[in-house]
Subunit: 412 residues, 2 copies
């Protein structure tokens, strides 16, 4: 029995003890969690914080309604992308001016990859064949538009293949389906050796893992803010561009929020310094205000603690689901995982519906993956324990085997 | 004296009479206008409606907080872009599926222009040299990225030059500085003759003019929803793509919200039908919900009435400012204007600050334009009259000549 298993909880009482000792226990009070729900879908949409709800009400009722156009200056709307960016910078381990909030992950991956190809003088855009489908289609779209040639890399020897080409890869730091964390050090070392660039997609990683992108040599990344960062549904995404390379990069989309002196209305376009040059149009201020306030939930939070807790909770999911005979498709080794764990079930969609009907909310990814998100700021050991009890009951009683649970609607 | 001048109000009492007879008078009650302010900046940021504020509170407090991930289906978040798009379609005079809400104007102009070039097999991207600077920089960015060659057209013979090339132009339907409305018929006729495409930027036009894009042959457009559409600060923008051409167009940014069966996670990308194929990443639901509700303010509104009222109010601004000796840079002919009128003043920035200090809110565009927005749903004749009285006083007393009014901050 390894060290890890010695500490694994065996009973609900063990879980209660772990929760009492949890240094992050106090963070849960920052969240406006609904009653009667155990929420294990923070890897898809994070819950609201009290601060975000209050801030949104103020942004709408005071800043927009009363302040009107004056709020661009008076309420600091202009500064929001940089302000939220600086706080995100801490969470990914880079300097404040190296992150800005803008657009969606899709649009940001496009801009970064195109800019990266250009600075390399390359046309090779790469993506793994098991990558998140949108990241694959963004790369394909770049190629289709005539801006590059697409190389799809097989997962099993992707790192070596990446090093053999000269170009840009779009790569998830944590896989959406399996929760597997990429070996950022190994990939950045290969990028350094080969002169390639990696555009990291941090969507499933930020807010859980202690990414330390700066010291690991990462240069470019985009990420989602509505998952473990709890920014609200469709909250604007972010861009990281390391200061030294940012000055050499040109976004293909030269919008006015990426421009110095945007209200001078001069004929020439001079891009802002740093990551801010990847801003485009006017940002969605209401959504951005909610995000900015949501990031308060990370004030005082040590990312070594979030990653450790996510791993402990993930271990608990794996231990319990394996005991039910379910196969895990996430890495068993906790250090190789992000903040969610996936298990397989032939009728996974129906099982998830049965769980939701009982107040347990995980999610499903085709064809057969049930994903349990273990967001460290608000999920407790007892929550996981109780959810697993319910899952066990659903499976034992075949509670999932109802026609209405099999009817596939759009799922997220 | 022309017909127009016979009806022009000469006194505040005349304005009151016009307001009593105004068929749109009842619409003002839909807006949550702050006390003590005459708001003439709806061409930059529209005010909040009661409906938008209520909807935003519900989207945050019930849908996000309580519904969490389930709200994508249960609260109809997935349908929001198409739903808001269908209502915008009426306002620009096209069919429901021809408009979707997505991204910012900048990003949408980029996608449409790149897709347009591709379908034409052309590399020529055009823009007028007096075009809104961002529209110019978007075109320049397309060229810089290697996707085309930029032609800047001189305004005085732009239409002929456009017809002489083969390619795509990005063109504002209403000029941001002068308020001049483009002759859409003439431009679309030239596009038809030359086989060119026009990507209309409707930002300063929608919600005021009776655009009737469908019957005028327009094929592609993008527009802003936070000006005369009152969607909220930085509310997501929209895309119009005529049904027949939409099916031939491919966005260079292939995000998951533009994809059929986005949760099947298949290897291939099949774009949605119609304008929806220009969607990219997850939309900012909170901002989008406010926009959707804000569009209720147009329920039952006839755009022939909005355009007529905007022109009458604009005439009033011109009549009064000319009487103060100010030069108008907007067309004197009301039919050639949008929903704002600009006048010149050497110290325009300071004059605007002095007006704002007195509760009158227009805006300023460098180097010397004071813009008065006359949004027909909530600006009354008496508002314009009173604002002009204040302007007259500010000028007569040189109230603008204070050091703090000259200090240029970021302005919008």
């Amino acid at each position: 029995m390894t060290q890890k298993h010695v500490q694994a909880p065996r009973t609900r009482q063990d879980c209660e003890a772990l929760d009492r000792a949890d240094p992050l226990a106090g963070m849960r009070a920052r969240f406006a969690l609904p009653d009667g729900v155990i929420y294990l879908d923070g890897h898809s949409l994070g819950p609201a914080t009290h601060g975000a709800l209050e801030r949104l009400a103020r942004a709408a009722g005071e800043e927009w309604r009363r302040g009107l156009i004056r709020s661009w200056n008076d309420a600091g709307w202009f500064d929001l992308p940089a302000r939220a960016g600086a706080r995100l910078a801490r969470l990914v381990g880079v300097a404040p001016g190296e992150v800005t909030v803008t657009d969606s992950v899709s649009v940001n991956l496009f801009k970064l990859a195109v800019a990266g190809l250009r600075v390399l003088g390359s046309r090779t855009v790469m993506v793994q064949s098991d990558e998140f489908p949108t990241d694959q289609s963004i790369a394909a779209g770049i190629a289709d538009a005539g801006l590059g040639e697409l190389k799809r890399l097989e997962p099993k020897d992707a790192l070596a293949a990446f090093g053999a080409y000269r170009g840009v890869i779009i790569r998830s730091a944590v896989n959406y389906r399996t929760g597997e964390a990429a070996d950022i050090d190994a990939w950045e070392q290969m990028a350094h050796q080969s002169g390639n660039l990696i555009v990291w997609d941090l969507s499933h990683a930020t807010g859980v893992l202690d990414l330390r992108l700066g010291q690991r040599g990462a240069k470019l990344a985009a990420g989602c803010s509505y998952k473990f960062l709890n920014g609200g549904p469709g909250a604007p995404a972010f861009v990281y561009a390391r200061a030294d390379i940012a000055q050499q990069l040109q976004s293909p989309i030269l919008g006015w929020f990426g421009q110095k002196d945007q209200f001078d209305f001069g004929a020439s376009y001079e891009a802002k310094d740093g990551a801010a040059r990847f801003a485009t149009g006017t940002p969605p201020v209401l959504s951005l205000s909610a995000l900015d306030a949501a990031l308060d939930a990370f004030d005082g939070v040590d990312l070594a603690q979030t990653s450790a807790k996510a791993r402990a909770l993930g271990d608990l999911v794996i231990m319990r689901t394996e005991a039910m005979g379910l196969k895990t498709i996430s890495p068993g080794e906790a250090a190789r995982r992000g903040g969610h764990v996936s298990v397989r079930h032939e009728h996974g969609y129906a099982v998830v519906q049965a769980l939701i009907a009982r107040g347990i909310i995980p999610d499903f990814r085709a064809p057969d993956a049930i994903r349990f998100g273990v967001a460290p700021l608000y999920v407790r050991h007892v929550d996981v324990w109780d959810a697993m009890d319910t899952l066990s009951d659903v499976l034992a009683t075949r509670a999932w085997d109802r026609p209405d649970f099999h009817a596939r609607a759009a799922v997220t």
